[in-house]
Subunit: 223 residues, 4 copies
DNA sequence: TATGAATGAGAGTTCATTCAT
DNA sequence: CATGAATGAACTCTCATTCAT
């Protein structure tokens, strides 16, 4: 409104602009985070199919159209949600494999934390697969995609690194990261779709058994 | 009109009705199959989310409403499609593990055929998980659900049976069926979502490696 | 921005919000009324069966989906229309039986106004009977139903009250309200369906005759 | 098909054609009646809104399209159904007012039978009003309309005639037929729409009271 | 910034009716 | 005569998105 004279307070004008900009960015980021929290809550309750912008906005205290000030599209919300989900995943895995433990314990802890994260938050898994499967181009740009992939690898690297420390040679360790990820995903899908019931198996125990075998192979130093 | 002597041409009057009825039933079945083929094609191109009745009907040469002469609802089409998919799966697995081969070969053949079936027809996998996850009650009745589960287990039993023959004890063999299924599903999802690229791994080779380890464990007679 | 001193301009800040809110509510109400008017027009031309949301919306200058910003469902429009219709009925009956007149005149005036209202607005009658007959639960909640019933009774009570003043004993007066309502409805239906033509009678005169007899009975103090 | 030589059997050819034609007409009529019975049953169970051709046909042992061999349209079925309904009404009224009784008894009996017919068969009333209100042109031709009106008047004439015998002068008696009809219709509608509940009155008793007053007026020889 | 009004496309489903067989 | 397949229009309702204010 009132245009401040830049010459009146010469040494503080630029910083003031910067400060204002920074504050605005911070506020904006906070609101985005708030909307994402609402979106996550909606997904948790209704799933991906049942979620819609109106409901997400309502939870965040907005009206549907207002969301577009913060996100370009519904798909963009999904993308942001996934990014944030992967941060939580990394935090969980890091917490499950403290540096203070032995390599064996870190391998087990990281792997189990990875599995538990998605077992406890099944909607995060839905989200990931929905997005990678069907998201529209503007929702998941190559850049974002690469960033998300990187964060997922980071999480798995905690497990892979421990296996390497235990003695697993290089090509095998990398393969094992992928294989373990696949195994988890499969088990989680079986659980989420209640498909596991038909086998009368406990997916958590199957995961533990898989982890144990991988650790054994690492210790044996073989592929 | 001309009253046919029932004894003169014994197998004519009633059979003619039967024949007509049979032909009608055959034609009807063919049309259902044709519609299902159209539905499968639509799924292949658009995925489950993008598919809609109008498009399915259009592909089959119908108008949307006409589909309801053959299927009670959209979900019923999905159910039929899944049932048929599982039949093809069983056929593929059976073909991949002929009785003439050794148990080891049958284990490998069945497992690999299972994986290849879904690797070659990724939409069949989508279908299965969509349906078991989100299908409406009237589309997937408990009866149908049980039947579908049974067919899936049939397919996996070829693998599990061979492992048992190789010496894998009981609780382990059953667990392995579930674990192998989960591993396949995970790998396939990684592949379908192009997520596997980030690991620069070949999912087929990862599957083979998994199978090989399972066969070794079976031959070692351990869990 | 400019922090207004609450004491300086006492009736400005909060009231401005209130005013805006009030104006918005008024505009909203006006639009609802406008849609209801369109709906009433459609009913008048096409009847209840022929009416559909698209047409109602089109008349109101909207697209079908837009109506849902103002009404939850088609049935809700009907409900609102009926409520509003009953208000007009009460106003008409009240105008037809001013307090300044004698009881006899008020009985005649109220009864005749009741009849005339529906004779002049035949679709209001259709509406009432359609709704009470076939409306879906969410369209006519028990609460709304009770409220509507009450308003109808209010209108009839003007007639019944005057009869009581004229000397009609209690159980008879209440019965007469129902009987008169029935008589009106019957005559109106005969007129609306052009069925009255076959009797070559004037329904208005038949109504007057009925009213006259009721008034006489009231004055005779008998049932 | 084979054209019979009219000269070969001179005295029987024409009659034979007539007989065949008559038999065909009879069969046709029987089938129409059968379909109407099915339609009536469907209406009784589902009401006019819930009824549809497929269901009517199904009940009659036909397929929807087959109905068009016997009726030009759905509306034509309704028209025929109403015609038949009026026949049953006349039969009921005649039975309720035997010639052997006194004029007073016949007046009461005819009126009450009229009311009871529709009170017992509410769908017949729906039918009548639906048709006269909204039926498409081809469903209710002027001829049919006139015929239906005539049969309705026949039924009411039993009541009006008895009033005349009791001493009601001409213009009044005719008016009373219309007025009584209107009163019945109103009461029946109140009952069918459960609207009568709000008055806590018994519609049958209200009808009796109305009849009694009409009879009294007839005996008093006044309008 | 946030609103709320409005849109337009599209969804699944129902139904009376037609017509070749 | 009866069928069954097929049609096309119509229905209510949902939703992401846009835009003036």
């Amino acid at each position: 409104m009132t245009q401040a004279d830049p010459q009146a307070i010469p040494s503080s004008a630029a910083p003031r602009d910067k400060q204002r900009h920074a504050r605005r960015a911070a506020v904006n980021e906070a609101k985005r985070t708030h909307i994402l929290a609402a979106a996550r809550a909606v997904f948790q309750e209704r799933g991906l199919e049942g979620a819609n912008l109106r409901e997400i906005a309502r939870r965040a205290g907005y009206v549907a159209g207002s969301i577009y000030s913060y996100f370009d599209s519904k798909e963009a919300i999904y993308g942001a949600l996934l990014a944030e989900s992967l941060e939580r995943l990394n935090a969980a895995v890091a917490a499950g494999a403290p540096e203070s433990r032995s390599a064996r314990e870190r391998a087990r802890g990281a792997a189990r934390a990875f599995y538990d994260f998605y077992a406890t938050n099944p909607r995060d898994l839905d989200l990931g697969f929905y997005l990678f499967g069907g998201m529209k181009p503007q929702g998941l740009t190559p850049d974002l995609n690469a960033a998300l992939n990187a964060r997922l690898r980071d999480a798995l690297a905690r497990f892979g690194g421990a296996l390497r420390e235990l003695g697993m040679p290089e090509p095998a360790a990398r393969s094992e990261e992928a294989a373990f990820f696949a195994h988890c995903v499969g088990l989680l899908l079986l659980e989420n779709t209640r498909r596991i019931r038909m086998f009368q198996e406990d997916p958590g125990k199957l995961c533990d058994a898989y982890i144990e075998r991988a650790v054994e192979r690492a210790e044996a130093g073989a592929a």
